[in-house]
Amino acid sequence: MNRRAIAGVLLGVMITVGLAGVWQLQKKIDAQKQALRMERDELTLRSPKLIQKMSLEYTPLVAALYWTRVVQYYGEKHRFGHRNLELLWPLLDITTTLDPHLMVAYRFGSTFLSDAPPRGAGEPEKGVKLLERGLRANPEQWRLYQDLGNVYYFDEKNYPKAAAAFEEGSKNPKAPIWMKAMAAKIAAEGESTETSYFLWRDIYQTTKDPLVKKNAESHLRLLKVDLDLKEINRLADEYEKRNGRRAAKMAELVQAGLLKEMPVDADGFPYVLGEGGKAELNLRSPLLEEKLMENK
């Protein structure tokens, strides 16, 4: 082997080893940066107007980029169970300023801004602001009225405004019929479990976004518990009326024919009758903890 060949081989080896080293180093650096990132959220540029100017004529593209950041941000926070979603609004603010027609941003954003922690940021007023901006730019999107109604109903607990939102949305010929009926129901009753269940179920069935769907599902699970307990209590009252005393165990209701079988919750744990003969979640059911967290 002559010298040139040896030099060639050595060069090849050096480059390979070098690249491997770079690879390993990068992994270490990434780990370091990960630790940093968790402690401190960063959004260097905050002004939507400034970013809009800097994007020259490419605002829709930059909006799409910020949108991916929104999804990533929420996904990461959610995965690690962090409650602090303080950057959600600024990111959404920028996204929708850059592209006022990005519907997914409004829909996703309003849900996760308004929902209480740990599901969302717990800032329903921001959710409202976001949707109002969305409606100004896209008045024909009746779904935004639906989202607005949901925010007022669930998170702001402002039933007159909720009713008004559903009413407004129902005026659009493309809107489903139930919106008008819902407006009336909320105006009359305010909050009710049936209403809540219905509203979340519509979201669950119509959304294409997996995160939104999952969120709706988690609400539905707990609402189902309420509905179930309500129903079981009604049957227990019926039992009391018939038999003059409250049932002590669920089995008695089944035996009395009021229930076809032992009722179980969404996770498969049977409901129990607790103190005073009131229906309750099974102590071992994970739904119990979820319920307690929600009520906090």
């Binding site: 020259l56 004529e57 909006a63 991916t68 027609h101 997914v104 294409k208 976004d209």
Partner: protein
Amino acid sequence: MMNVWAVATNAFREAVRDRVLYNLVFFALLMMGAAILVGQISIGVEDTVIISLGLSAISIIGLFIAVFIGVGLVSKEMDKRTLYALLAKPVERWQFLLGKFCGLVMTLAVNTAAMALGLYLALWTVKHPLEKSDAYVLVAVYLILLKLALIVALAMLFSCFTTSFLAILFTAGIYVAGLFAEDLRTIQAVDLSPTTMKMLRGISYLLPNFENFSVMGAVAHGRGVPGGLVGQATLYALVYATIVLAAAAMVFSRRNLK
């Protein structure tokens, strides 16, 4: 006119042999990557993202070509002295400029058409079948092409009287300034005198308003572009480019070659 055509076809040939069109490969890869990755972001925005990304890429790549090669159209010939033999032929200097302009615009037209095709392919993979509203993308591409033609004219003008480096800076600068022309028109600042405001407004009208050619926002969401806008933008580009090329011809006609 035959002279103009001869120069134009040669300029086109030069671009092709200079492997300018190879940028299409890069573009194709970009689009493919985007089509694959975009589903990961979230459902419901795939077409918006692909269209935004595609149009942005067409615009930016086209911009690079228009500025760098546009400046080189004259500079390169002067630096390399290939111009000497040519101008000793019975050809007017303005015919040379116009021919170069047409040649590069032809190149850009081919380039953007190919990229538009790539965009549609990527769009098709994430969303088939394509809808009628997706045809509006072609309108956006056409307007981008108008913008690029105007930039080529500006690049040529600057390169006629300054070095290629400065010409590139000036052209890029006027592109950015032109994007803010609309803002300049509606500027509201407390500490500006009425005369200054009037002057700024005047400047805003004289600058090339590149926002006229930007419809990405609408098209990305499947909204159409009014035909009137397209017609007027075409006229605007035509008139403005003619002015610029005429000025370039004037400057170049009196220029002493080194």
